[in-house]
């Protein structure tokens, strides 16, 4: 179990690149840190590893304070973004290099190495040098090196970012499987929300050095805590639009108006609404609908992405299943169920307002 209590990191003592991080990671959990580059996720991981001194707060592993313990005594393994393989050593030597210092017998080293190599399909390459291997194989060597240490905690820093898309999908599955097989606690850093969604037991979304939200992937997807999380998680991104509040209606760019089943508090002025692309559907006969002009159509085979103009300035994307026959320039009637509309206040925080069962109704304004 790993506990982070008010962890902060500052290089100059004034600005904090990681600020006030509190989280408890359970044993055997696959925990993913996700955020855009420069959000402090790698720094946080390096602080857990002991490669970066912790400025403030406290890090506890299994209840023991670890702030000043050197990396080698934290009993964890780490996989680096560029694999950090020793270029002059063979795959086998690379895998067992760290074991020599742990007073493990030669036979045991050999045995562990063979097991790890078998698990990752490296048996034929044990005598090769890293430069003779492909990117995916190098990645596996780095994984094998982390496995043979048999540490209860494994840290990974964007391990898949150097691989092509196909291999990445495969390795995602392999890493996840490995983690479950061995029961390791995994802390995994990525900037790819897709990796976070597919691999994690829980994810922690970070931005600007601060934790934005912690939760299970679907929870975070369905109930984002703020605009940042809402737009960062999910692809294509959630549709967002600023709106003016007028009693029980929202007005978009003075072009469209949306009636709601409930009122906002009086002081509310500017809000942002967000709708996931899959929640915008073709209107049925009795649905309140609004017509939109299609700007672009992307047919992906299993689904179709339709870009349409919500207002003159803003484009939204809808995702429909199957291969739709909509064409660019068509006017189509669409509708949104109000329960799927998210509201955010001016500061970007989520507004939880009583949700009625009426449909949201859009219509063109006639100012």
């Amino acid at each position: 179990m790993i506990e982070l209590v008010q962890i902060g990191k500052s290089y100059d003592g004034k600005t904090f690149v990681v600020d006030d991080v509190n989280v408890r990671i359970e044993k055997g959990e696959f925990f993913v840190l996700v955020g855009p580059s420069g959000c402090g996720k790698s720094t946080l991981l390096r602080m857990i590893a002991g490669l970066e001194p912790i400025t403030s707060g406290s890090l506890r592993i299994n209840g023991k304070e670890m702030n000043d313990v050197p990396p080698s005594e934290r009993n964890l393994s780490m996989v680096f973004q560029n694999y950090a393989l020793y270029p002059h050593l063979t795959v086998e030597e690379n895998i067992t290099f760290g074991l020599h210092t742990k007073k493990i017998s030669k036979q045991e080293r050999k045995k562990r190495c063979m097991e790890a190599a078998e698990m990752l399909g490296l048996t034929d390459y044990l005598k090769h040098k890293p430069r003779q291997l492909s990117g995916g194989q190098r990645q596996r060597v780095a994984l094998a090196r982390a496995i043979v240490a048999q540490t209860p905690i494994c840290l990974m820093d964007e391990p898949l970012s150097n691989l092509d898309a196909k291999l990445r999908a495969k390795m995602r599955f392999e890493i996840r499987q490995l983690q479950q097989q061995l029961g390791i606690t995994m802390i995994y850093v990525t900037h790819d929300q897709m990796e976070a969604m597919t691999m994690a037991d829980r994810i922690m979304v970070m931005d600007g050095g601060r934790v934005q939200q912690i939760g299970e992937p679907l929870d975070v997807y369905n109930h984002p805590a703020n605009i940042f999380v809402a737009s960062f998680i999910g692809s294509p991104a959630m549709n967002m639009t600023k709106a003016d509040v007028l009693e029980q209606s929202l007005i978009f760019n003075r072009e469209r108006i949306m009636r709601l089943a409930h009122r906002f508090p009086l002081e509310t002025k500017n809000i942002t609404i967000g709708v996931r692309p899959e929640h915008i559907r073709l209107a049925n006969k009795n649905d309140p609908y609004f017509t939109v002009k299609v700007v672009n159509v992307e047919r992906l085979g299993t689904e179709t992405l339709i870009t349409f103009a919500l207002t003159k300035k803003e484009h939204w994307i809808a995702r429909w299943n199957g291969q739709c026959s909509v064409r660019v320039g068509d006017e189509v009637p669409v509708t949104i169920d109000e329960q799927h509309v998210l509201f955010f206040n001016e500061a970007g925080e989520r507004l939880y307002v009583g949700v009625g069962d009426d449909y949201v109704s859009f219509r063109e304004t006639k100012f």
Binding site: A49, M78, P87
Partner: protein, 270 residues
């Protein structure tokens, strides 16, 4: 590139080579001339007699000097490689307060001419009672700012993640230094090794100061001895000795050059 241009290039190179090689070639020829022939201004020997070489070995204990020079150069080379690589390791991989200041101070010592430190060094050696010993000839040269600088620059090209990976897996500093850093820096180590061997081999002033005993004297002093022992210097004999003395230098360059070029190429492609 046109044939004309490459011809011009090669002609220039050949001229350059001839100019550079002339003193060595001339010394080589003189080493086969007798004193009388030399005075007559003969430029090419009638017969290639090895008499001068035999005399050279008889006159001064040349073999002993050669051996001394070899020992001294070898010890200095090992010492410099060891001290420089350890210091460079600390400057690159260890984090400690004042590290960069210390490094720049080390570099700054390169600005002090070596001659300025000769007297204090000599006094120290004398106090230690190290005159006329290999210790006195070698130890003052172990710490070399240039060597530290050269190796530090190379160590900096080693990805820092390798160090971090070693840290996480519990690899100790010395193991990392010995099995990762040194093998990855072979090129620079070889360069520094050749450099320090040759510099020490050619050293003159310092051995002259701290030795007065032929047991530890180096070959450069032996050469000088030949010139001053008699009224008229037998240049043929001296040149024969010179040819013998520069032999190791040339050998080292010929063997080392290929190795060095190979190393440089590998570094470039990576």
């Amino acid at each position: 590139m046109s044939i004309f241009r490459s011809m011009v290039t090669y002609i220039l190179l050949v001229i350059g080579a001839v100019i550079v090689m002339f003193p060595i070639g001339y010394a080589f020829i003189i080493s086969f001339l007798s004193g009388a022939q030399l005075l007559q201004g003969v430029l090419w020997p009638d017969e290639w007699s090895l008499q001068n070489y035999v005399t050279a070995f008889e006159k001064v204990p040349l073999l002993r000097y050669l051996w001394n020079s070899f020992i001294v150069s070898f010890i200095v080379m090992i010492g410099q490689l060891l001290v420089s690589s350890l210091a460079a390791y600390a400057f690159v991989f260890l984090r400690f307060w004042g590290r960069d200041v210390l490094f720049f101070m080390t570099i700054a010592t390169m600005l002090i001419p070596w001659e300025a430190t000769v007297i204090p060094n000599f006094l120290t050696i004398q106090k230690f009672g190290w005159t006329n010993s290999y210790l006195g000839l070698t130890v003052p040269f172990f710490a070399l700012a240039f060597g530290i600088f050269l190796l530090r620059q190379h160590f900096k090209t080693i990805p820092f993640e390798l160090y971090e990976a070693a840290q996480v897996s519990g690899v100790r500093h010395f193991r990392f230094f010995w099995y990762v850093v040194l093998p990855l820096s072979k090129t620079s180590l070889a360069t520094l090794g050749v450099y320090s061997f040759l510099t020490t081999w050619n050293m003159y002033l310092w051995p002259l100061l701290v030795t007065n005993d032929e047991k530890v004297r180096t070959v450069q002093i032996g050469l000088k001895q030949m010139q001053t022992q008699e009224m008229a210097t037998e240049w043929g004999v001296v040149m024969a000795a010179v040819v013998i003395v520069i032999m190791p230098t040339l050998l080292l360059l010929f063997i080392g050059q290929k190795q060095l070029q190979k190393g440089l190429m590998q570094g470039a492609i990576k």
